[in-house]
């Protein structure tokens, strides 16, 4: 039973496309697991759409722009005039490239290369479909202190997203959070002295939380976690499970940020 959900305002921001990419990823994965939030998202989308398109439209001054745009859009399908500007390349190359491209496309077909599950500790974890799209970007699993495993997904500049797997009886020392650390429980359950969390729970922790996650579940627990603010990778899962890598402490300028040790 899922107890923790994104707020309605997060869902609205998500469907409007204004939530940060990292947070959107987590909300999207939660919606894959949670009927209630998925339905809400659909309703919010409809509401936003009707807000945008219900308004009577007054403007007439830009008519010519729209006429141009209309023909630009639709003329793509019109047969070409005969002039080809003399830039035509060797047709045999074109054919070869097109065939190569076809082959590449078929190899890249999601159903062929992306796995819908993670295999860990002799178990199979079915992933929410949003995260399946990222399995081809998943790094190696590494074993960390205690009974923790971690694998990162590259989602780009300064943003950390990772799977964390806690074996049975695994635990993480007490810590607090800076910035927003969002965690989605993929499979299993754990508790942290504040609450008990179950599969599908969407956990939003910030600096006001101090906790000690541990799992006593026979099955262990797989979670997916993102940091909303790259500058604050100094605590939480990120620090505890990944104290060695400087990679993730870079901001967009490429400048490194020192890691404060406590």
């Amino acid at each position: 039973m899922i107890k923790l959900h994104p707020t309605d305002s997060d869902l609205v921001d998500f469907v409007e496309g204004t939530l940060s990419p990292a947070k959107s990823l987590l909300v999207s994965a939660h919606c894959d697991m949670c009927n209630c939030c998925r339905e809400k998202s659909e309703i919010f989308t409809e509401q936003l759409a009707s807000k945008v398109f219900d308004e009577p439209e007054q403007s007439t001054s830009i008519l010519s722009d729209f006429v141009n745009m209309f023909s630009e859009i639709t003329e793509d399908e019109e047969l070409a005039s005969t002039n080809n500007n003399g830039i035509l390349a060797n047709p045999s190359n074109v054919l070869q490239q097109i065939i190569k491209n076809e082959l590449r496309d078929s190899r890249n077909h999601p159903n062929l290369t992306k796995s819908d599950a993670l295999y860990l500790d002799g178990r199979k974890f079915i992933l929410p479909k949003t995260l399946i799209r990222f399995t081809d970007r998943l790094g190696e699993w590494s074993k960390l202190v205690g009974k923790l495993w971690q694998a990162q997904i590259d989602i780009g500049n300064g943003q950390l997203a990772q799977f964390i797997y806690m074996e049975k009886d695994g635990s993480i020392p007490e810590h607090t959070h800076k910035g927003n650390e969002l965690t989605l429980v993929i499979d299993g359950e754990f508790s942290d002295g504040i609450s008990q969390y179950d599969s599908g729970d969407y956990i939003n922790l910030n600096s006001s939380h101090t906790h000690t996650p541990c799992t006593a579940s026979e099955e262990g627990c797989l979670v997916f976690s993102v940091i909303d603010q790259p500058l604050y990778f100094t605590s939480g899962w990120a620090k505890l499970v990944n104290p060695l890598s400087n990679l993730y402490f870079k901001v967009n300028s490429g400048q490194s940020i020192s890691i404060s040790k406590s």
């Binding site: 496309g17 990419p21 439209e57 007054q58 080809n84």
Partner: protein, 204 residues
């Protein structure tokens, strides 16, 4: 160009999408099946100006707003066959297309490279089955024939195909170079390849 295709801009359409949702669905269906420009002009006249107002509020920039409108409406024109009236209204579908394009435009403006893109979150326009299983190109076709077909492509499609397949540029690079929206590059590529395949098939 626009001969015989009226854009109902001046009529100040005050109907709500709910009232004309069925009508717009029917137009989209006609666009999908018959590439009907008259039907598309109805859809375009209704949605494009409203989308522009929204985009202007969101992006605060006329050029970006118009790029968003063009990219969105271009997708509506190219991918009308993916609209499913049982899943939702035309306005919801068009809103989600615009939302996806805007999400990707903003990422691009922020110079994000490897990142989460809108297709990862909302696969609104994924061609699940339609295009993937078309017959492979027949290698019996002689190169001269392909050259001939290639000549028949619209100039704009030819440019895009050459840049991508001959010069090995990415779709984004082509978009930047030709100063056209990424969606337009994608749709031109798709249309050109489809056209080549069709021509090769007809030849069989």
């Amino acid at each position: 160009m626009l001969i015989g295709i009226p854009l109902d801009q001046k009529r100040n359409d005050t109907r709500q999408p709910k009232e004309c949702s069925a009508e717009m669905s029917a137009h989209l269906d006609t666009v999908a099946k018959q590439r009907c420009k008259v039907s598309f002009s109805k859809v375009f006249s209704y949605f494009a100006p409203r989308l522009r107002s929204y985009a202007l509020k969101q992006m605060g920039n006329e050029a970006l707003a118009m790029e968003l409108v063009q990219d969105t409406m271009s997708n509506v024109w190219q991918k009308a066959h993916l609209f499913n009236s049982e899943k939702g209204s035309p306005s919801t579908w068009i809103f989600t297309i615009a939302r996806n394009i805007r999400f990707d435009m903003l990422r691009k403006l922020q110079n994000r490279k490897e990142d989460v893109c809108s297709d990862d979150l909302w696969p609104v326009l994924c061609e699940q089955t339609a295009d993937t299983k078309t017959a492979p190109l027949d290698e019996q076709i002689t190169l001269e024939q392909v050259g001939h077909y290639f000549d028949d492509l619209p100039v704009k499609q030819k440019k895009v195909i050459e840049a991508i397949y001959i010069s090995g540029k990415s779709q984004q690079e082509v978009a930047d170079e030709l100063e056209i929206p990424l969606g337009t590059v994608k749709s031109r590529t798709r249309l050109a390849l489809q056209r080549l395949k069709d021509m090769l098939k007809e030849h069989d």
